[in-house]
Symmetry: C2
Subunit: 147 residues, 2 copies
């Protein structure tokens, strides 16, 4: 949920305006998403994306999507500050490898199940065997193939 | 592999210098990673992060890590341009859900295997049963829990 807008903090500018040392007006685009009690959130996105780019992105998206946009930018910024080389792309890489490993394990377990069934000459219909996820594996066009 | 440095394009500035309309010198920090034949790569990172922030990140990391840094920045920038609300954090979210689904399927398949074994009163040691991935699931501290 969006934090209160700047007008709720009559005596305190939002974290963005405080950081940028400017007057926080009632139509401040940052105020609903960067409350004064979370100064690091703005400092991080400013350091990685720049206030101007964050403002542009916020203007581009629908008002009801702005909080998600800010949160994803804050997540990316924090990840980049922790890992300047890979940023949150490192998490994508780890998750992709995990998906591939799980798919392989699932295939092997299904093969075990089938082998078991054939050993005992039993019908296998009740045990079926599962196929890995419905989205076509770990590389749905969203994946990062850079390394 | 890093592209040739700016000096290899004596008559052509790197994509960054061309975009920024400045002279491309032999010590240009962008030149090895933004060759003139890939103008979109620089335009994207400039639009999302700003040239100055990209330059700062490049200066922060070791020279041998700069190409990875540029490629991950280019990936993030492209994802943000495609999806201004979630950027590449959307891919993290999809992959996390896929990991959770695969872990559940693997657990169910292992349960089937154990059930099969007990039905036939057989020893189960040769079939074992697999545990899902070794990294503690889809939320290794890298995950995005924002939505």
């Amino acid at each position: 949920m969006a934090s209160s807008s700047c007008t709720s903090y009559a005596n305190s500018p939002c974290a963005a305006c405080k950081f940028l040392r400017r007057k926080c007006t009632s139509d401040c685009v940052f105020a609903p998403y960067f409350p004064p009690e979370e100064p690091t959130k703005f400092a991080n996105v400013h350091r990685i994306f720049g206030a101007s780019n964050v403002s542009k992105i916020l203007q581009e998206v629908e008002p009801h999507q702005r909080e998600d946009a800010v949160n994803s930018l804050a997540y990316e910024a924090e990840a980049r500050l922790k890992d300047p080389v890979y940023g949150c792309v490192g998490a994508i890489s780890i998750l992709q490898r995990q998906v591939i490993r799980l798919q392989r394990e699932l295939e092997e377990t299904n093969a075990d199940l089938m082998r078991y069934a054939s050993c005992f000459g039993a019908e296998t219909t009740s045990f079926g065997g599962r196929k890995s996820g419905g989205r076509g594996g770990g590389r749905d066009g969203e994946g990062y193939g850079g390394y």
